[in-house]
């Protein structure tokens, strides 16, 4: 469903005369803009991004033939101001490659390309866009961008970097939300407060994995500091992701630029004061859960006796062991963990839940060593050494059964909840951000500069404080000046490489102003009015002439606008890490299109010794899954992806960089994996094109670039094959005959070919896959 352009323009043109002057003035200098509906408390001019989103009038422009959608009119208006011409539409091959990469995340097949090129119907492109948006792989591509923001990982990070076995459910929730075209306001609410809004809805609980994904060091001896750091992570994440505000600065001092006071910062923290991580909510049982339980039960049965013996060894000392373990925590943590449950306040409840979460079942065995070795311990006896030896030996026995443990998956959900209690611990304003220096107590509230008078409507439930629901309702309201603007700008940046506001996660005063303020508000306004329809937003951008332009830059445009902020042409861009890997797999005919499920372990280069933090693929197909399913271990970036500026999962990752380094070159041309994929691609080329080399070159280019080779390229490639076959012949003549030949051929096809000549083809394929035409989309 989209609003048709004609209706919109006719409707808006009525209003145009009325508001055009105000908008023009606002656009020229946001700081002197008209007063917003509700005056902010500031005496200085309000910041443009904190004013309510204004409905926009689509400008009248000269390039009427070029303009297809309202977006085009806004872009054309700016170009005309500069006397620049927009570009013509890209050729069909370029267009389908671009759109398929952008929407699905990998290259189109030659069949898809041919069908599109041959489709002479006037809505051929619309049909392409609708097909792409309807594909379930759209959700995967969009999810990956969202996971960047959610600092998604399958492990906790820090030194021990434990596996978080349930987080993949959150990843699948995100994929599903995009595929179902879940309204963005609902998407926001579920991730922030799913447990409060729909406590019995497992999907809503999984959604709160957004909050629960913080980096964590579970061995920290300072539980109170961890509470503060975890809350800080949540607030900073929410601020950057939804509001496009770096609120973090206000933690230590009143924000220099954005008029967010330190007090207001801690008022935001108060929304999260009662939030705990819960990891043991039973998941709905499907295949994954059944397989997991089967393996888990097998391990439990096989190890029952050993585990019972271990427990029996510790049992006589258990009370002392727990006491000893708790004493290792810092002073203020100890206050809570030594308190009887009947005396717990909300803060103690949080601390004790945390203690329980981070204390492993077999943690107390270590006490046997203490009483065997530490002469100062009252339980010390020299003969305890035997107990400790026995305990260690049983541990070795236990390890022998590790292979029975479930290789992947889980049968539980990770969520954040308030542990069934509506009373939240107090939140304080901390002096200089130091949690050991509390000043006044603060209550949940929105930053005044942004809120335009909105106040949180907190309605506690029987099991939760209701605070996050109130925050989520404000964030996801049409009146919030930032939420819609920030999101539409992110989607825009995804297509054009640069946001209308270039600082995509900073809409504060230190951020940049929008290049096209009216367009930004037009997109935000229509987005909210469409019922926060994400697919409709994507569709409106994809259908614009701006998006469909060729990427050739004219001298004039380059001289006037070297940064191409005005978009006189389509900005070419290097592929993302995942687009490169996934497209190589598509080209090789290897990509496994399975949607969702537990994260997989793709092979690591043998030089990378990850020990027990990585495991061999549990299924040979795992190495061919899409990149977003590769296990995200916070301490071990997957090399093939990390070389190409893959996002870092340590904190909100707003924008993929494009760096160009020798290490990338090494990765692509020396990786054994990539060479194997090139061999498979060469095999595919021969299978599909037959023995004629010219036809093979055509096929290769159709697969990789959605076009045939240009004349010069073709000549270069033929010359290479001739010359290179000679080099390989010499090499194979020395008797070692190590040649990489095409793989995936039938024996009949294999017998018909010259191994040296096809080994030259493998090198050609491998080289062409390394070229700029592959790693960029134009």
């Amino acid at each position: 469903m989209t609003v048709s352009f004609t209706k919109v323009t006719s409707l808006l043109s009525v209003l145009s005369v009325l508001s055009v002057t105000t908008i023009a003035a606002w656009a020229a200098d946001p700081s002197t803009a008209a007063t917003p509906a509700k005056p902010a408390r500031l005496t200085a001019a309000p910041h443009w991004a904190y004013q309510p989103v204004q409905p926009q009038v689509v400008p009248n422009v000269k390039h009427t033939k070029w303009v297809h959608t309202p977006i085009d009119a806004f872009v054309a208006a700016k170009l005309e101001e500069k006397g620049l011409e927009p570009s013509v539409e890209a050729d069909r091959g370029t267009l389908i490659r671009r759109a398929t990469l952008d929407v699905l995340g990998y290259i189109p097949t030659p069949q898809e390309t041919q069908a599109f090129i041959k489709d002479r119907s006037p809505d051929a492109y619309e049909k392409l866009v609708d097909r792409l948006l309807a594909s379930p792989h759209y959700g995967e591509r969009q999810a990956r961008r969202w996971l960047d923001l959610a600092r998604y990982a399958d492990s906790t990070g820090f030194q021990n970097d434990q596996t978080r076995p349930n987080m993949w459910r959150y990843r699948d929730y995100v994929i599903g939300s995009f595929n179902d075209n879940k309204p963005y306001d609902q998407f926001v609410k579920e991730q922030l407060a799913g447990d409060e809004i729909a406590p019995n809805d497992k999907s809503a609980l999984i959604a709160t994995g957004f909050l629960a994904g913080y980096p964590d060091n579970r061995n920290s001896r300072d539980l109170v500091q961890r509470k503060y750091q975890i809350t800080t992570d949540m607030v900073d994440t929410v601020g950057a992701v939804f509001l496009g505000q770096s609120v973090a600065c206000a933690r230590c001092h009143d924000h220099k630029f954005d008029k967010i006071s330190a007090k207001e910062y801690f008022q935001l923290q108060a929304f999260f004061a009662n939030v705990s991580e819960v990891n043991d909510i039973p998941a709905e049982v499907g295949d994954v859960e059944r397989q997991y339980r089967k393996a888990q039960t097998a391990w439990e049965t096989a190890t029952q006796d050993i585990r019972a013996q271990r427990t029996a060894l510790v049992q006589p000392y258990l009370a002392h062991a727990i006491q000893y373990q708790k004493e290792r925590y810092l002073t203020d943590s100890r206050t809570s963990i030594f308190k009887a449950q009947s005396e717990w306040n909300a803060h103690d409840r949080w601390i004790n839940h945390r203690w329980h979460n981070v204390t492993a079942d077999d943690e107390f065995g270590g006490y046997l060593r203490e009483i065997a070795e530490n002469k100062e311990n009252p339980d010390y006896k020299p003969e305890n050494q035997k107990l400790w030896e026995k305990y260690k030996q049983l541990g070795e026995e236990l390890k022998k059964f590790d292979s029975l443990k479930p290789k992947q998956g889980s049968d539980t959900i990770t969520a954040t909840t308030e542990l069934g209690h509506p009373d939240a611990p107090p939140t304080y304003l901390f002096f200089g951000g130091d949690h050991e220096r509390p000043l006044e107590e603060v209550q949940p509230s929105f930053p005044a500069a942004i809120a335009n008078g909105a106040k949180p409507n907190i309605r506690p439930t029987s099991t939760s404080s209701g605070r996050r629901t109130a925050l989520a309702e404000w964030l996801a309201s049409a009146e919030n000046p930032l939420t819609a603007r920030v999101f539409v700008n992110r989607v825009w940046a995804q297509y054009f490489g640069t946001g209308l506001v270039r600082t995509v996660s900073d809409f504060g005063k230190a951020g940049e102003r929008p290049s096209h303020p009216e367009l930004l508000d037009y997109l935000a306004d229509t987005f909210v009015k469409s019922g926060w329809s994400v697919k409709q937003l994507h569709r409106s951008i994809l259908l614009s002439s701006v998006y469909r332009q060729a990427s050739t830059v004219t001298d004039k445009a380059y001289a006037e606008d070297p940064e191409n902020r005005l978009l006189a042409s389509f900005p070419r861009r290097r592929l993302d890490a995942e687009q490169i890997r996934d497209s190589l797999l598509v080209a090789a005919g290897k990509l496994d299109p399975t949607l969702g499920g537990p994260s997989v372990f793709a092979p690591l280069p043998t030089e990378l010794k990850a020990g027990n933090l990585w495991q061999p693929p549990s299924n040979p197909q795992d190495q061919y899954r899409r990149s977003l399913y590769i296990f995200t271990r916070r301490s071990i970036a997957y090399p093939l992806l990390s070389s190409f500026d893959m996002s870092s999962p340590q904190q909100v990752h707003s924008k993929r960089d494009v760096t160009t380094t020798p290490l990338q070159a090494l990765t692509l041309y020396n990786s054994e994996l990539v060479l194997q994929w090139s061999q498979a691609l060469a095999g595919r080329v021969i299978r599909e094109a037959g023995g004629n080399e010219s036809a093979q070159l055509d096929r290769l280019y159709q697969i990789l670039f959605a076009r045939k080779p240009h004349k010069v390229e073709r000549a270069t490639l033929h010359a290479f094959l001739d010359q290179h076959a000679n080099v390989l012949k010499e090499k194979s003549a020395d008797g070692r005959l190590s040649l990489a030949v095409p793989i995936g051929l039938e024996s009949k096809e294999r017998s018909a070919i010259d191994p040296v000549r096809t080994a030259a083809l493998v090198d050609l394929v491998h080289t062409v896959a390394n070229s700029n035409d592959f790693t960029y989309r134009f």
Binding site: L613, P662, L663, T716, H724
Partner: protein, 483 residues
């Protein structure tokens, strides 16, 4: 300045010089974008950049003693601790610190050390470091170091990035960002470690954080081929690859001609040539074939106990010779010590055995490095920093070990611009807390930057609307340790 560059734009203009990246405050808003971009130079984010003021040194060797050695048993001689051995810690010493043991900390514990003064400076060394002791007059001690944290991982993060949470760039990444590369055939920021496993915490400790990934450290792993994907696939010969790359060059040149204004495309063309050269340059940098036997002995390569760390020290010298800016060396692990805790300096039990082995593993190699740098005239242009995430308490733990001490410990500097033979600050009489001229991580970082010719306040990067700098919002150059 309030103008905030996205990372990509920044890279496009990185070569703008000197100033483009480092002295961003000196540029008028947007001025950077107004001028035309010189093609090739502009695109290389690692192009050499100017310093703020003349540098004293070209390279830094950052020796991270992993696991936190007890500097009380190495450098910080405390006769009172020996006298009070076995007694409770006097209450006055514990004021203002938050310990992690209920019901009082362990009893004061003096290990079985003998102490001597060395050199004209008379610096104290224990019997654990007889070789480094010979360099007493080359070192500047900071005996009043302090940091935050009770666990290794957050304090190691702080040691390297200044923050307790992951996400910030490490010191090496900041330096690479600010200065670029002095040798395009090698990565400018290299991390060395040994053992059969990645160091715990992993690449986060040499990460570029919010800086572009190009500034992160490159791990040089043990073995002949130190960088991932450095070796050609087994079936590809050198001639074969050269031909492939020539084809690639032709294809990319041809494609770049269709986009004449596009410097990024041309940079990528260049990256493949650099990579090809790196295939030779990186193995050559770690090939000891041309090192004399005497040199190898100097680093302890002839002894099983010192070979692994000695190899990294000799690698470090060779990397310094080749213009690498920042070499971060993680000590350990020692597999010979059976217990998992003993893989590094984390001696909660049996300090005697643990520190005996770890000190032995590093003492001769570090002394060898200092001698070798000196004899080759490289010490004047190199900074060696001996550092750790924190240290260990004067009170005992488990009867034979020591707990973590972030309140007062020793680190040292040696090399260009350093006041050799000087001791800065001190701890209290039992070596628990810094009581004079305390030095935090940020101060150390600021000082390293200063020696490299960089003002830590002026090395900035705009991230999400905030002008970030290496020392967060802290840091003061320790002027007293500068020559």
């Amino acid at each position: 300045m309030s103008k905030s560059f996205s990372r990509r734009e920044l890279l496009l203009h990185a070569g703008y010089g000197a100033g483009g990246l480092v002295l961003s405050s000196a540029l008028p808003g947007g001025g950077l974008f107004a001028a035309p971009v010189p093609a090739e130079a502009a695109i290389d984010p690692l192009a050499p950049k100017a310093t703020h003021f003349p540098a004293k040194i070209k390279s830094v060797i950052w020796l991270h003693m992993d696991g936190a050695p007890s500097t009380l048993d190495l450098y910080d001689y405390k006769p009172d601790l020996v006298k009070l051995n076995g007694q409770e810690v006097p209450e006055s010493f514990l004021k203002g610190i938050k310990t992690s043991t209920q019901g009082g900390v362990g009893k004061l514990f003096a290990s079985n050390r003998s102490w001597k003064q060395y050199g004209a400076s008379g610096a104290w060394f224990s019997d654990l470091l007889p070789n480094i002791a010979q360099h007493a007059d080359s070192l500047a001690f900071i005996k009043s170091s302090k940091t935050i944290g009770a666990t290794h991982d957050i304090s190691i993060l702080k040691l390297n990035t200044g923050d307790l949470n992951p996400g910030r760039p490490t010191l090496g990444a900041w330096i690479t960002y600010a200065l670029g590369s002095a040798n395009s055939d090698l990565p400018p920021y290299v991390v060395l470690y040994s053992g059969n496993k990645e160091p715990s915490g992993g690449s986060i400790n040499w990460s570029a954080g919010f800086l572009p990934a190009v500034y992160q450290g490159t791990a040089f792993r043990p073995g002949d081929s130190p960088i991932l994907h450095l070796n050609r696939p087994e079936v590809v010969s050198s001639t074969q690859q050269r031909e492939n790359l020539d084809l690639l060059k032709r294809l990319n040149t041809n494609s770049a001609a269709r986009h004449p204004h596009d410097t990024e495309l041309r940079a990528r063309l260049n990256a493949y040539e650099l990579a090809y050269r790196m295939e030779t340059a990186a193995p050559e940098a770690v090939d000891f074939g041309k090192e004399s036997e005497a040199t190898k002995r100097l680093y302890g390569l002839d002894d099983e106990a010192t070979r692994a760390y000695g190899t990294n020290m000799l690698r470090a010298r060779r990397l310094v010779e080749r213009g690498v800016r920042f070499i971060q060396v993680v000590s350990g692990p020692l597999e010979i010590l059976a217990d998992a805790d003993d893989r590094n300096w984390d001696a909660h039990q049996d300090l005697e055995q643990n520190h005996g082995a770890h000190a032995r593993a590093v003492d001769k190699p570090i002394a060898g490095l200092l001698s070798d740098l000196k004899s080759r005239g490289l010490l004047d242009s190199t900074l060696v920093v001996w550092t750790s995430e924190f240290s260990r308490t004067p009170y005992g733990q488990s009867g034979t070990g020591r707990d973590h001490n972030p309140w007062g410990y020793t680190q040292w500097l040696a090399g260009g611009g350093v006041k050799a033979g000087y001791t800065h600050g001190r701890t209290d009489e039992i070596g628990l807390k810094a009581v004079e001229n305390p030095v935090d991580t940020y101060d150390l970082h600021a000082t390293v930057l200063q020696l490299l010719g960089l003002d830590h306040l002026r090395v900035t990067f705009a991230n999400n609307g905030r002008a970030e700098r290496p020392t967060v919002v802290y840091g003061e150059v320790i002027k007293d340790v500068l020559a």
